[in-house]
């Protein structure tokens, strides 16, 4: 009985000491110990490869969120241990991506020739190239992998992101983004030349 009492007191003392040390030293909790550490990339040098001069008037930006999915050939891509304990049809590799693409539409003013611009005392006549899709951007931070089964290499990801970009461009065009880009370009350039003192501004778009 005495020994049991001594044991209990010793246990309480050790537990209290351990708790005080844990509070003082801020030891990690059990959850922190069992949570996988995030993988961070090393800080590496960013190299400037090229500088290119542009003259693009970007007048419409289209935002789109697109979902694509793909399935691949069975069994060779699936970890055999996974297929055993999942006890499901693990014969298909599948991936579902959600991509937030940005489509930039506008006029490429680098195509302007000297004969396309005529300025007189108070009027401007400008022949502009037709509006076009200048760029479709889909960055890694805008790609969410909603579901992934099997092994998907980099080439497969390139094909899927290219599909998202193609769909984004097609959606922008079907929503009339190019027509709106020309309308906005007309507005901006008219305001610009009017403010510069030209009373009459005439535009023509080359098709």
């Amino acid at each position: 009985m005495k020994q049991t009492g001594r044991f209990i007191i010793l246990f309480i003392f050790v537990a209290a000491a351990g708790w005080l040390v844990w509070r003082a030293v801020k030891l990690p909790s059990l959850k922190q110990l069992l949570t996988a550490k995030e993988v961070s990339i090393d800080e590496t040098v960013t190299v400037l490869k090229n500088i290119q001069s542009l003259s693009q008037l970007s007048t419409i930006t289209a935002y789109d969120e697109i979902v694509v999915d793909s399935t691949a050939a069975p069994s060779a891509t699936i970890n055999p241990f996974v297929s055993l304990y999942h006890a499901v049809d693990a014969s298909d590799a599948e991936i579902v991506l959600i991509g937030k693409a940005i489509t930039y539409c506008g006029i490429d003013l680098q195509k302007l020739q000297p004969q396309d611009l005529y300025l007189s005392q108070d009027s401007v006549h400008l022949t502009l190239p037709a509006a076009q899709i200048l760029e479709v951007a889909l960055n890694p931070s805008d790609v969410e992998i909603f579901s992934e089964r099997g092994v998907w290499n980099n080439n497969a990801m390139i094909r899927l992101t290219d599909k998202i970009k193609y769909l984004a461009a097609a959606t922008a065009m079907s929503n009339g983004a190019l027509g709106q880009a020309e309308t906005e370009a007309r507005k901006i350039l008219t305001t610009f030349f009017n403010a510069a003192g030209y009373k009459t501004v005439v535009f023509e778009f080359v098709r």
Partner: protein, 182 residues
């Protein structure tokens, strides 16, 4: 007999709980926004991405990956909101005050991303697509910071000056000055 019946019943319940996979996933409607950016410069940046996954004590083995990527950064001047107040004209001189240039877009195209090397040891799996994308998202952040520290804005303003002078330096203005104000 009872055990067999229970097993069969559980199999039916389990099969019934499985949901069919949705194959035809619809798109959402795009939203359009009006901008008025005169983009005058594009910088092409390249970066090597190194990652070493060996920090989790209970995962036996190590894995490393080496990737490379490129990014296209565009900068330009916003022409929206320009009014007569931005233009001061004399007989033959026009002075235009524009807002300062800014970085307009950053594009990290997937076809410029390459996995150069991957090493997996122990009981580890290769990097999944989701894990690679997470590493690339970190590289994208570093590229944004690096682009901000370069002189892309200054270069954009220089190019905008050259372009607008060539556009406006006709009758009646012989001299066109381009200034930038905040």
């Amino acid at each position: 007999m009872q055990k067999v019946f229970l097993l069969v019943l559980m199999s039916f319940l389990w099969a019934g709980c499985r949901q069919a996979k949705e194959k035809n996933l619809p798109q959402t409607i795009a939203s359009l926004r009006q901008t008025g950016e005169l983009v005058t410069v594009q910088y092409t940046l390249s970066k090597i991405i190194k990652a070493n996954d060996n920090k989790t004590w209970y995962k036996i083995g190590n894995r490393k990956i080496l990737m490379s990527c490129e990014a296209y950064v565009k900068a330009g001047v916003n022409l929206q909101g320009l009014t007569e107040k931005n233009f001061v004209a004399t007989d033959s001189t026009l002075t235009v005050t524009l807002p300062h240039a800014r970085i307009f877009s950053l594009n990290v195209p997937a076809d410029k991303i390459q996995v150069a090397y991957q090493e997996v040891s122990g009981f580890r799996d290769p990097f999944s697509a989701a894990e690679r994308e997470a590493l690339l998202a970190q590289a994208e952040t570093q590229l944004k910071v690096a682009a901000g520290n370069m002189d892309i804005v200054k270069k954009a303003e220089e190019n905008a000056t050259i372009f607008l002078q060539s556009l406006l330096q006709q009758a009646p203005y012989k001299t066109v000055n381009i200034l930038f104000a905040p």
